[in-house]
């Protein structure tokens, strides 16, 4: 078993280190009304790879642009912004270009390209910034339709590049600067508008799948529950997980007779909601509310049966610990309180322990 685990770790590491994938950026022309050409592209990114994505289940690969970012973007731009005798030379500084892929829903993946470019011109040996733009290209894929996903990373890079150029076209002050450059005298100063358009989106977060077993103990009941919980991690927002579960609980032995009944059966449908607040990576406060509705069937010691409508309200406060974010054990503990219209057990208080796996 140990040898198998070592082998598994070895192969996973091999994939992580050595799998590389080169994307060929196609050159599809798009319409512009700009009389500019891209004189040079400077790759000033801190990280030179585009990102790490999972191509096949369990196999991750590092993405690169074939020919390098400078050459690939230059060739792409040349098709739509060809150099002519009258075109203004514009330079591009690539600050960020990243491909991301993450599960963002129960049956949903989001593929994203994030790009941050600075377009600038040179005048009197000075760099005049036309536009700094940060843009995201997101596309959703269902798990049943991921066969073409990998090929589309390249398309989203093209879409992001086109979006940046179109934004350049839409800013009137940029058009004015470009016009000024062509008409102004060589030594005359030019106004630097420094337009910045940065879209702010949270980083695509990790999706957690949890399969857990809960054991609960309260004043009157003992129970168990098996749950599936899925949620997208968030550092800031209140996390509302997707959850379904099945469980059973029974009255503690001896208590029913003590209350003057031979048996008490409860049939309850529970409606409720849970939410998590992230304290630190892997540690979450787990808060819940529930409204159980049902019926209580009581049989006294003379075997006489009576029914009682049951409605209640419950709350729980706990902590969930997920030490390993990709795969591993999950632990949880919580306390819960409940008031209900029961003839016998009107108030209840208890605690739960939870253990499971995240995958």
């Amino acid at each position: 078993m140990k040898t198998f685990a070592y082998l598994l770790i070895f192969f996973v590491s091999l994939n992580t280190v050595f799998a590389q994938d080169s994307l060929q950026l196609n050159t599809v022309a798009f319409p512009t009304n700009l009389n500019i050409h891209i004189e040079h592209v400077y790759d000033n990114r801190e990280t030179k790879e585009l990102g790490e994505v999972e191509r096949i289940a369990g196999e991750k690969s590092q993405l690169y642009l074939s020919g390098g970012v400078e050459q690939a973007i230059q060739e792409f731009m040349d098709v739509s912004l060809p150099k002519s005798d009258t075109s203004t030379p514009v330079f591009i500084n690539v600050k960020h270009l990243e491909v991301q892929l993450a599960q963002t829903g129960v049956e949903e993946l989001t593929a994203r390209v994030y790009i941050r470019l600075i377009f600038f011109v040179k005048h009197n040996a000075q760099e005049i910034q036309l536009l700094e733009i940060g843009h995201y290209e997101d596309q959703l894929f269902s798990f049943s339709n991921t066969s073409t996903l990998h090929q589309t990373h390249e398309q989203r890079i093209r879409a992001a590049l086109e979006y940046c150029v179109v934004s350049l076209m839409k800013e009137p002050s940029i058009q004015n600067t470009l016009h000024e450059l062509n008409t102004i005298e060589r030594d005359a100063p030019i106004v630097n508008h420094k337009i910045t358009l940065l879209e702010q989106k949270p980083i695509l977060t990790k999706w957690f799948n949890l399969l857990t077993f809960k054991k609960s103990y309260s004043q009157y009941y003992e129970g168990w529950e098996i749950s599936y919980t899925g949620f997208a991690d968030s550092d800031k927002d209140f996390i509302i997980p997707f959850e379904f579960s099945y469980g059973q609980s029974k009255t503690k032995s001896g208590l029913v007779k003590k209350e003057g009944y031979s048996s008490i059966d409860t049939y309850v449908f529970g409606a409720g909601a849970n939410g998590y607040i992230k304290l630190t990576p892997g540690v979450y406060v787990d808060l819940g509310v529930s409204v159980p509705i049902g019926v209580e069937i009581l049989r006294d010691l003379n075997n006489k049966q009576s029914e009682n409508f049951l409605i209640g309200i419950g709350a729980s406060q706990g902590i969930k610990i997920i030490p390993w974010k990709d795969f591993g054990l999950v632990f949880g503990a919580s306390v819960f309180e409940q008031v209900q219209s029961s003839k016998v057990f009107k108030k209840d208080i208890g605690f739960e322990f939870e253990i499971g796996v995240n995958f």
Partner: protein
Amino acid sequence: MKLLVFTRLLLLTITPHSYDIQHLLLNKWKLEEYQIDGEYFPPSKKEKSDFIHFHENMSFTSLSESKQEQGSYLINVNGEYIEMTSETGEKLKAYIVSISSEMLVLQFDFEEVKGLRAYYKATFNR
């Protein structure tokens, strides 16, 4: 309905490129039907008059469930989508599944419904 089925089949074979999209899009598109998970639905009573009108100056006007909207739009040829920005700054991305002079199919990823396809019919003959 038979005519619509025929148009649908025909659309599969039409994939206009780059500059054509801009030209073809300039029309008033009336909502004909929806497609969700492969099933087709007619517009509800409220949506019967829904349309999108793309103008040459890159502005649009639309009617959606009796609510009129206007704003600007851009076409992303490489991403094969239209981005519509309303006057309030709200952005809506619609993927162009197919376009011809008579029919436009857009795909939307709304929060409630992902992958909704809307079939529009051209109002003007071009």
